[in-house]
């Protein structure tokens, strides 16, 4: 074979270029146009830790999915913006859609914010998959028919589950109940749901105290004194921000929890701050859709928890699961529509495909219902301080699926509480 000098030099040049820039010959994913995912999550204030956990999880998810071919062969690129007030978050949502030209926006934790952003998503005809936001006005669904907005499970799921477990573990010991719940619709509805479920189970308990601290109240000594004075035998609290560890610390120091059973349906958000020194055992402890130490955890969860705890030296909570689930549901929808059409699907094809996909999320299986509301797996149980961490884990793990804990499409929540077949 004759090789000319020119052909030899050209061959050497190409080989040299290939050696210097290996990415040029990497799989097609590297050359494909990225799928741009806008993320809206709180990074400061009372919800800062919560948003941060979700952001870390979605970054982990994107990295893992990208190694595995991204979404239908296209790499995932995240564009992260902060969730703050409804007005400012709506502006950032518009920026993501109109300027950043993202394919999908995910995130939102506060229902106060998501109620404002959802109509904007409909107006802009932009796909929005919420982590923890709903479009509930109180317990009433404000957007029964959404075209572009996928919502999280109902806010009351954790309260319903904690109420059922309170009955399961403490029925016969609940005579005098007290509530300390955040003073907005979430706290008020959870407290009301707890009482109604007790009544349905035939537990006739006297309400001896109701406390409604403003979110972020950090001096709760007077609230603790008021609860103590009422002498409850059961305390229900759906506090979920930095005020929950403060309440438990101040309550423990004042002897509030001696001889009292407790339900904390949303405690998982503050897991790293709820130290054993002030946490009583046998608390009905809610981990929502991710219990980091689940004995039967999937390999996916185990890999995530190991990476997360190794990197950040703290336990992840359910916002990580919500963030992963949103991205996984979108990926599943796109890939299903891609398979059906043989091309990159249009937005309406993706939206139509998402509700049919069963997704393996960090905390377990989940899917979106046809009305674009999520159904996931919930974990709660009785707490124990016998572990190697400096915060409680669960001695018994109960898990329910969302269809057991949330109202079906089109049904009033209070009617459902009265008539549904409850799993306990």
């Amino acid at each position: 074979m004759n090789i000319t000098r020119r052909a030899l030099m050209r061959g050497i040049g190409v080989a040299g270029l290939a050696a210097a820039t290996p990415g040029i010959f990497a799989p097609a994913i590297a050359q494909a146009k990225p799928v741009r995912i806008g993320i809206l999550a709180p990074r400061s204030g009372a919800m800062g830790t919560v948003g941060e956990c979700g952001i870390r999880a979605v970054q982990w998810a994107a990295e893992r999915m990208n190694k595995d071919g991204g979404i239908a062969g296209r790499p995932i690129e995240l564009v992260i913006e902060e969730e703050t007030s409804p007005k400012d978050t709506i502006e950032r949502f518009r920026r993501l859609v109109l300027q950043e030209k993202v394919d999908c926006v995910q995130g939102l934790i506060s229902t106060g914010v998501s109620l404002g952003v959802a109509p904007t998503a409909e107006e802009e005809q932009a796909l929005l998959i919420m982590w923890d936001g709903t479009t509930q006005d109180g317990v009433k669904e404000a957007m029964p028919k959404s075209n572009y907005v996928f919502r999280s499970t109902d806010n009351e799921c954790e309260a319903v589950m904690a109420s059922l477990l309170a009955i399961k573990y403490f029925k016969g010991k609940i005579k005098r109940i007290a509530g300390i719940n955040p003073d907005y619709s979430y706290g008020r509805n959870n407290w009301e749901a707890f009482q109604q479920i007790l009544r349905r189970a035939g537990v006739e308990a006297e309400v001896v105290a109701e406390q409604w601290p403003k979110v972020g109240t950090m001096d709760l000594t007077s609230h603790v004194a008021a609860l103590k004075a009422a002498k409850p035998d059961f305390i229900f609290s759906s506090m979920l921000f930095a005020d929950l560890p403060v309440f438990m610390k101040q309550g423990s120091a004042a002897g509030l929890f001696e001889g009292v059973n407790i339900a904390l349906p949303a405690a998982g958000w503050q897991i790293n701050q709820l130290k054993k020194e002030f946490m009583p055992e046998n608390v009905v402890f809610g981990h929502n859709t991710l219990y980091f130490a689940l004995p039967t955890a999937s390999p996916l969860q185990k890999a995530f928890v190991d990476d997360y705890m190794g990197r950040y030296k703290e336990a992840p909570h359910w916002e990580a699961d919500r963030a992963y689930f949103a991205l996984a549901a979108y990926k599943a929808g796109v890939e299903a529509a891609n398979k059906a059409t043989g091309r990159w699907p249009k937005l309406d094809e993706i939206i139509a495909a998402i509700p049919e996909q069963k997704v393996q999320s960090l905390g377990g299986p989940g899917q979106f219902r046809k009305d674009k509301i999520a159904e996931q797996t919930f974990y709660q149980g009785l707490s124990t301080n016998k572990n190697t961490y400096d915060f409680p884990t669960l001695s018994t793990v109960d898990s329910f699926t969302a269809d057991q804990l949330q109202k079906p499409p089109g049904v009033d929540f209070w009617d459902w509480i009265k008539t549904s077949k409850l799993p306990v």
């Binding site: 009372a46 601290p213 403003k214 950090m218 001096d219 603790v224 004194a225 403060v246 101040q250 120091a253």
Partner: protein
């Protein structure tokens, strides 16, 4: 009886912290005639720095029983930030009061970003310091010993401040400067030095208050603004510029809040401001303030 004591102790603990911040506010207004909106920032600064100081003390191997003195020293040390802040305020002493309000409001907002930069945006807590001293039995009521120590520290600071202002030469000069700055300057007093000292002491009262509260609660970006609102209720009730007013106002606000939480929790804020409005209508100068012609 135990219920009453529980409410009383809860209210007095809150009042003890409020007093320290309000006393700083009163001292600065009494002498410098500046309504210092940044007092809430000094309170928050004390809380954040207290957490850092306790962490540092733990690294040095100091026993956890020393958490209270460490926090007080941390509050006093970081209170020195009052010196450079006062140097900035000095540029507008002779201007209209609205400038002073605006510049201290500017500091209040700027400090939020300082906290965000150094300590991050998420609330921070001192996990177990609150329980280091255990609990005490007080007339049949179980109460965290730390709360009693904070109340005692606050009373000691109030007495010390009162003695300093009433019985020392420096205290007399400060009171004279508050009465008539021109006269004291004519007598050779360097009012700039007096102002710097007073502002720094006022700042220290706030930072010590913040440092003392943090084991029982948490530091957060919002705590500065939230406290300013309550501190001003104290000042309006007690009378602007009066130290006795700060004490009385803090007790009134703390106890009303505690009683409202017990009887009608929804009226926690409302009950305080009903009293504020009543004082403004019936006694505009406050309980211990002097009416201005």
């Amino acid at each position: 009886m135990t219920v009453f004591l529980d409410v009383l102790l809860g209210g007095v603990f809150h009042a003890a912290i409020l007093f320290l911040v309000a006393a700083g506010l009163q001292l600065v207004f009494g002498v410098q005639k500046i309504v210092n909106l940044a007092c809430g920032s000094f309170y928050a600064l004390g809380a954040y720095f207290g957490i850092t100081a306790v962490g540092f003390a733990a690294q040095l191997g100091l026993p956890s029983i020393l958490v209270l003195p460490v926090l007080i020293l941390a509050g006093l040390a970081i209170g020195l930030v009052g010196l450079p802040v006062e140097r900035v305020l000095r540029t507008i002493y002779n201007r209209d009061e609205s400038y002073q309000l605006l510049i201290t409001f500017g500091f209040l907002l700027m400090f939020q970003d300082v906290f965000r930069f150094f300590w991050g945006a998420t609330p921070r807590t001192l996990d177990n310091a609150y329980l280091v001293y255990g609990t005490a039995e007080f007339l049949g009521v179980q109460v965290p010993t730390y709360n009693l120590l904070v109340i005692a520290a606050s009373i000691a600071i109030a007495l010390g401040l009162g003695l300093f202002l009433q019985r020392t030469r420096m205290g007399r000069i400060i009171r004279a400067t508050a009465e008539n700055r021109n006269m004291t300057e004519a007598m050779g007093v360097d009012s700039n030095r007096i102002f710097a000292a007073v502002f720094t002491v006022g700042c220290m009262l706030g930072t010590v208050g913040g440092a003392l509260v943090v084991p029982a609660s948490a530091s957060s970006l919002d705590m500065a603004v939230e406290l300013v609102v309550e501190a001003f209720a104290v000042v309006v009730i007690g009378g602007l510029g009066s130290m006795r007013g700060a004490l009385a106002g803090a007790l009134i606000v703390g106890l009303i809040r505690a009683a409202a939480i017990m009887v009608l929790p929804e009226a926690e804020i409302l009950s305080i401001y009903v009293v504020v409005i009543a004082v403004l209508i019936l006694r505009p100068a406050g309980l211990f303030g002097r009416a201005v012609a």
